[in-house]
Amino acid sequence: MTEDENQPLLDESGRHHTYTSLNAYITTNDNHERTGSHTTFATGEKLISGRYESLDYECDESEISHMEEKRLGHQHTRRLAVLKWVIMLLIGICTGLVAVFVDFAVKNLTKFKFSYVQNRLDTCLSEHCLFTPYLTWIAINMSFVLVSGLLILWEPAARGSGIPQVKCYLNGVAVPHVLSLKALIAKVLGVIFSVSGGLAVGKEGPMIHSGSIIAGGISQGKSSTLKFDFHIFKHFRTDKHKRDFVSAGAAAGVAAAFGAPVGGVLFALEEGASFFNQQLTWFIFFASMVSTFTLNVVMSAIDGHFGDLSSPGLINFGLFKDVPYMWFELPIFILMGVMGGVFGALFNELNLRLTKFRHHYINRHWVLIIEVLLVAATTVVIAFVLIFTTMNECRPIKTQVELNSPTIQLFCPDGQYNTMATIVFSTPENAVRNLFHSEIGTYKAWSLLAFCIVYFCLTCWTYGIIVSSGLFIPSLLIGASWGRLVGIGMHNLFPSIYFNPGKYALFGAASQLGGIMRMTISLAVILIEATGDIVLGLPIMIVLTVAKLTGDYFNEGFFDIHIALQSVPFLPWQSEVFLSRLSALSVMSAPVTKLKTVEKVETIFRILRAESHHGFPVVDHHADETNNERAGTFQGIILRHQLITILRKRNFISLNDSLRDYLTLDDFRESYPRHPSIESVHLTDEERELYCDLRPYMNLAYTVSHHSTLPRIFSMFRGLGLRHLVVVNDKNEVVGMITRKDLARFRMIHKKGHTSIEELGISN
């Protein structure tokens, strides 16, 4: 009966469960050690990358932390609360300012580019030199995008939308460089140049990432990149506090991008923060509000009417005034939701395949840069071809708004403008607004269809190249174009009833966005806030719900796919049901490297050099010399960086001495967040013979019994935000250690009605 006790999930006879264990052959330690290194071609979601570590979200429960708490007293807690408000204020203001900067730069660069190209176009249409503006346009876009691409090569963490990275960080994974100043610079400048470069990208996703970086930076009061330190906010230099601020920063980013403070809070709640409480929600709301209003104040000052606080966020859908909907339209909305779900799932699937292709074959720097340039050039070609094929589609310039806004005449007779050219030439935000608000008959059905299909493919192709790029606006644009198409169709089917095509464009946009992102409440609230119309809340909710349900039938949400593709050990809300067949024994890492409460310096040094682990259980060394493996009851956990700090500070004692001069928490916080490596520690031979007393520094960590099942361990891990979970036996002896990767490597896969557990390999 003891044959297979630690592999109960291997019995698969007569069940639909198959167990593919990548680790089965590499984990058999001792006897027949496999020679050489094991490699795999598996990438992306079939692997967990070893370069991601967890954040230390646990409260420090060591003796020295108790001492500090006692020393600082209650006053300190109050001071911290005040400081938190100040930091939230700063986060809001800075995020708002960055948003203004991005918007201002994009607007002016785009204006400069288009005015130049348009002038050349106008003259060249009659003078047989059409290829010069064409080539100029291509050249300008390619150079803009090249800048963006080079920035990403400089700091790869700024690639893409940044939402997956922020989501991982808030889930408790330390994504390398995700909050560095370099990433902020690359992100902000990169998004300016990629949007002005005419790519099918938005600037909203990067805004969220920028907000998070700003929050992470401000709350620390120092920059490790620039090597300066204000010596303020020292007490927030823990992962726990930093993570709270980062979630506020993400919310402030959403608030600035969409002009939706409540949406921002809900975004942080839904997508980001895994750990929430009432007070944090209020803090985050404050930061979002400040960010929105900073944006409003500065934007209104730029527009020339300072003091008008009603200038909305980066994207402005325009108010939907008096847009009623009738009961008989609800089925149409549901159908549109289904369409959005299907298109969204298709988009995700295509992008997934494309991303895998890129992982495999396009991975050198120069190839990546060439790809970016090609995408930029092709985008222009497609725009030009679109204009050319719809050259006879002209609308007279009638209203004063049309007269003032940049309308593009191109091949149209004087006094008229080309509708397609106007969409293609304006920024995506303006295009969305046009689709929402221009009157019926502005766009012809066929050209809208062509635009929709082309833009769908273009967006799908563009996401994943090395630029920082958002997906919100392109998705909205795709959805708005087919939504408007539905509106036009309804109008043609039932000419007697007036169907506002702009309204359908809005629901199409909502549905497409929901189908791709699979977000629910935050998306609904963002859209309601951005359109400023609570009346449309119900249909937006219906459309989003249906789109999510339909999309989930086919695959996962876009950002979840990309998180998996980056091999991040991401922990979802809860473990899946079937995993209860796994117990702590089959999940944990064993044997565990343990330290004694008073350990020899030499041993510590050797262990740190040999092992890459981050936490080591400290055991009481009651001698059981026969079997050293299970000697000692569990006392606590000591972290790697603590040990290194102890070694660096030479906090040693001789064997029979007792520790007198304690290190304080400040000593440990000093090097946060980039702790020095063990290679930087040099010890003399005399020092190696001394001892370390680990008792005041070790953290009283959580333990779990070896009987526990995986779902239970999982919820503990997730609920408490743990990094290390020690598995003990009935005698409180350490038998194993569970970390994030041990849990994340099990994944349920549902395929053709079969359900199986898959175990992922962990790469270096």
Partner: protein, 289 residues
Amino acid sequence: MLKILIFYLSIQLIHGDYKDPIYPVQNPCLAILDRLSDMASSFLNCAVSRARPFKLCEGCVDTFARLQDLIGLLDKTYSDVDRTITCKQFLESYDTIQIVAQLISFVQNIWSSSFCDSCITGYNDTNGTIHYSLTESTTKFIQKKMTFDYCIFNATGRIVPIIPIDLNVTLNTNVCTVCLPVYNDINEFFIKMTQDTKNGVCMDIVDTMNYTRLLWSKIYECKRHDPDYMAVMGISFFIPTIVLVFYISALFKGERTQKKLSRQKRLPIHSTTAAIVGDRTWLWSNPND
């Protein structure tokens, strides 16, 4: 006694003093109202008749100025001797429909949404005669339009039609070449004007320009676009071809990178759990064993 008093009072009510401010016989406000109705109808008359082709600003400025004058008078005139109730209050605040107020806002809305103020300035009514002046750009525009019309007249031998929609002309082919400089001149002047004006170009001018353009491109069929399709088509095929070549060569030339799997410490499969967990008898959950 009381009955007599009530009776007396009711008699007084019936044969009330009709010089009371609410029931004036010769109230100045009623005179203004009378005049207002005349002026409003003449303005509306003018506006409707000049709706197509649009000539509201220039054509109706005199009636509008008179109306404005009268509207100004509403605030200055009082309906009662004590000068407490202005005519505006008298005419507008005793019912919910407020015909006068609606009329005034309607007229002013027409005027302002045509942006007439950007081509006509300084109109005023002095003793029944209306003075007004056109802005500089407007006079220039009118001059240019006249030059254009003259050119067309010379080239076609016909007067430029007021409405360019129903026109059966046998086309004179050299109109386009002869009048192109004049046309370009007026067109560019108009574009410059739209860019310079902040709040809006006067609708008279916009409409004139629209008709001129319509005339030019639809009636005389003058086109100035002659794109060179070949160059554009060439570029449009060239770049997608490069893209295709790029991806195909990436597929064949690109190398899949291998990743090292890290060794994980796991329980040895064949070790007895008892050795690890401790002396206690191992009870796994399978009750069949």
